[in-house]
Each structure stands twice: as structure tokens, then as C-alpha cells.
């Protein structure tokens, strides 16, 4: 299709359901951590679509809501541990935004596990694989996110 973003159709039942999860990975830590996980052959489910961003602070809540609106089943935002940020304070600002967004989304009734945040440093390949394992497992149990589908 000519337009870059499309809305993915919702056709699946829970047992064979393979969730589509967008993962915003911060270029300096989490993306490197994901690389390390791949290089060291850590197995983790293939359900995440990685979007590399300069810093977790770059993630505007609008992008997360746009991802949910476009038909993905879950969003993960992963950045450097507080203090390791390449831009010093990017993830500190992000942390406050994510704290409020997480509480707000669960307050209005979206399952807790749909939008998750994590800190993964460049050296923690194993930790990255475990987190992805956990996130994908939780979202697979929840089933497809039908709240934002075009009816």
C-alpha cells in the first residue's frame, strides 16, 4: 500500500494467537542488549517488532497510543537504566511519563500488561531475552487487543 502505516486486521483465536508487539528500544542500551541477546544465541519469541529510538525519553505517549490504535496487541518501551542514559536525563524524564501513562491506561480499563516499560543495559542480553519472554507470554494470555479496532 502506498501509505506507510496500515491497520492490521484482527483474525485470530487465543490458542494459536501470535501477538504483534511493538518494542521501542533505546539505541544505546536496549537495542545493543537485543543485539547481544541475538549474538549470544538467547532464544526469545519473535513477536516483537523493534523500533530503534535515540532514547526512551524520545517516546511521546502519542506514539504508544498510535501503536495501539494501529492494531498491535502490546507495546514495550525499553531504555537504559536510570543513570546510564547516553543523554544523561532522557530516561529520568521518561520514567515520570511512563509512570503516569501506565497508571492512566490501567485506570481506564486497558489491561496492565498491554503497555510495559523496562530498563535493559547493553550488557544484559540474557535479561533482554527474559523480559521479552515474560512480556510476550503475558500478552499472549490476554489475547488480541480489540479495543481500538475500526468496527
Amino acid at each position: 500500500m502506498k501509505k506507510d502505516e496500515t491497520t492490521i486486521e484482527k483474525k485470530s483465536d487465543v490458542s494459536t494467537f501470535e501477538p504483534k508487539i511493538v518494542a521501542f528500544l533505546c539505541n544505546w542500551c536496549s537495542y545493543a542488549g537485543a543485539d547481544l541477546a541475538g549474538v549470544s544465541r538467547f532464544q526469545y519469541p519473535p513477536n516483537i517488532r523493534v523500533i530503534k529510538v535515540p532514547c526512551s525519553g524520545r517516546i511521546n505517549p502519542l506514539y504508544i497510543i498510535k501503536a495501539l490504535y494501529s492494531g498491535v496487541d502490546g507495546v514495550l518501551v525499553s531504555g537504559c537504566h536510570p543513570g546510564d542514559c547516553h543523554y544523561i536525563s532522557g530516561n529520568f524524564y521518561a520514567r515520570r511519563k511512563f509512570a503516569l501513562l501506565k497508571k492512566f491506561l490501567s485506570y481506564i480499563g486497558i489491561e496492565q500488561e498491554r503497555v510495559q516499560f523496562s530498563w535493559v543495559s547493553a550488557a544484559e542480553g540474557a535479561r533482554f531475552a527474559q523480559i521479552i519472554e515474560k512480556v510476550v507470554g503475558e500478552i499472549k494470555r490476554l489475547g488480541p487487543l480489540t479495543y481500538f479496532c475500526k468496527d
Partner: protein, 348 residues
Amino acid sequence: MVKERRGSVILDKKDFENFFSLLAEKYTIFGPSQDDNGDAFTKIDSPQSLKLHYKNTHLSLKSYFFPQTETLLTFDNHMKITKGKENETEEQTKCSILFGVRPCDATAIYFLDKVFQESSPPDPYYVKRRSVTRIISFACTDPSSTCFCTSVACGPDSEKGSDIIFFELDGHYLVKQITQEGEEILEGVKELLKPVTDKHIEEKDRSMVAARHKLRKIFEVSNFVKKLENFEAPYWEKLHQKCLGCGICTYMCPTCHCFDMTDEVTGSGGRRVRTWDSCMFPLFTLHASGHNPRPTQKERMRQRLMHKFNYAPKIFGEVFCVGCGRCVVHCPVNLDLRSVVQQIMEEQ
């Protein structure tokens, strides 16, 4: 008096039940009932759920024929149009009736017919819905304080746009058939109807005079139309100051018909969708080059008034306002159309 009698008949209130069920066999009926936003038109199965003593619906009835969101056509990934092609005719099984419409809303539909049906090329989506819907209106006996239909070319017993009009008398209804379709409806229920007598007509006229008495005539609309010829008048400067440019007055207005057309892409193709739009929004006339013929709220508010009170009379010969008062009631800053008109009339 004779001319009046030709189309009128009487229906006793006690026959109302089976009048309704007779109609319900041939037509699907929509009528006023309570929803959590005040009164709205919903599908009515039994006359008990009809709530005929209501001031007016919260939203106007234009969304029945001109819905806020409507798919014009859908296309697949290879740009081939899959729905909404030429003269597509899904057969609609039963005609439907909007029962208990207020005369001002019916008159508004009459104006929308002029825009979408009578001026060429006709709008097929509007015509498909309008041609299978009949309108039975109920004359107003108890207008609310924000109604000003008598100040514009409308009134508590305006017949424009409706097929049949009911006048409530004590004990029975005076039913007046206005259009050919109205006659067909009454044909089906002939046995319940009784001939009308002069007493009934006097009673009806008395109730209408009482209703008109409650509606203060605030301005003479024909003078207002002429007054608006002065486009660059100074009063526009201060009239718009309060306006915050939201879309409430245009979306609640029964005669506002402006719309937007945009494309949407879904996984396996997409659709072209028509949605309501408002001249009060800045993007309404923004050119791709950045030029905007109506850059500030002054021009936009002037456009809203000029379109209804000056341009529509020139194009369609009708003032596109029915005085229902919805824009007055819902404006967040209480920018009252009646006081705007009065301020303009007082200027030299």
C-alpha cells in the same frame, strides 16, 4: 375554513394504540424516547415507549439522512473500488417513519433536501435514505424559552418538510395530510379517522395562537438578510471575541450541511469517508500553500451567519435557520444568536 378542511381528519386518542400498530405493520417507526442525553429518536415498537410531550431532541434529525460518519466508497489494495460504485441499489425492505418530529426539525430536513436532493447533481447517499423515510410531525404547543422559530421563516405549526402534521387537541388529534406520501399513509388507516368539524379547527387555531404567544418574535428576518449585505461592517470586529471556535453550534444545528471527505487505509485496502465539518474550524478553508481566506474567528463567525441568513436566501430562496435554539443552548460561552442579530440590527 373550507380549504383547511380538505386535508384534515380527526383521530381519537383512544384509537391511537391501534393507529400506531397499523402503521407499525407497514413501516418501521422511529420516535422520541428518553436516552441518557435527553430526548433522542430511537426505534419504537410499542406506543407506550413514545414520549410525545418533549420540547425537542438533544441532537437534530439531520444525522438520520446525513450521518456524521459515512463510508462513500471502499477500495482494495489494487485501487479497485469495491463498494459504492455506480447506482448501487440495496433494496430497503420497509419504508420508515420518523414519528413525532418537531416542525422546526422537519423544516430543517426540507432545507437539507434542497441542498442534497434538489440541486444537481443529487447526493445518492442522502436520497437513498430520504426517499424511503416519511416524516410525521407534531405541532408544538409548549415551545421552550430558547425557541425563536417565529422570528425566522418557521413556526410551531410549520408544514415544510413533513408528510403529515398532528395537532394535539383534548381527547383527539387533528391530523393534516400535507404531501402525497402522507395521503398514502392515511389511506392505510382510513377506518380509524373521523371527519373534521369546525370546532376542531377552531380549537387547533387557538392552541397555535397560544403557542405563538409564548414565542416572542425577536427580529424580522427579511430585514436582517438585507442588513447583512454590508460585509465589511465594523460590528464584526467585536461580535466574534467570545467565540472559541469549537464546532458545537454547527454540529447541533439541523440545517448545517458542510462535510469533509478523507481517505482511510486499513490492512487490506481502505475507504473514502465523509464526515461532518464546521466552518468554525481553522482548517476548513486552509489552502495547501498556507493561505487561508478566513484566517481568524471573525471571518469564520461571519461566514456562519452569512451562509444561513444571506447566501442561502440567494442560492435557495430560504433562510437556513429554523429557530430551534440548539446553538443558543449549547454554546459554552453563551454567544446567543438572537443577541448577535439584535446587535447587528441596532447598528446603523
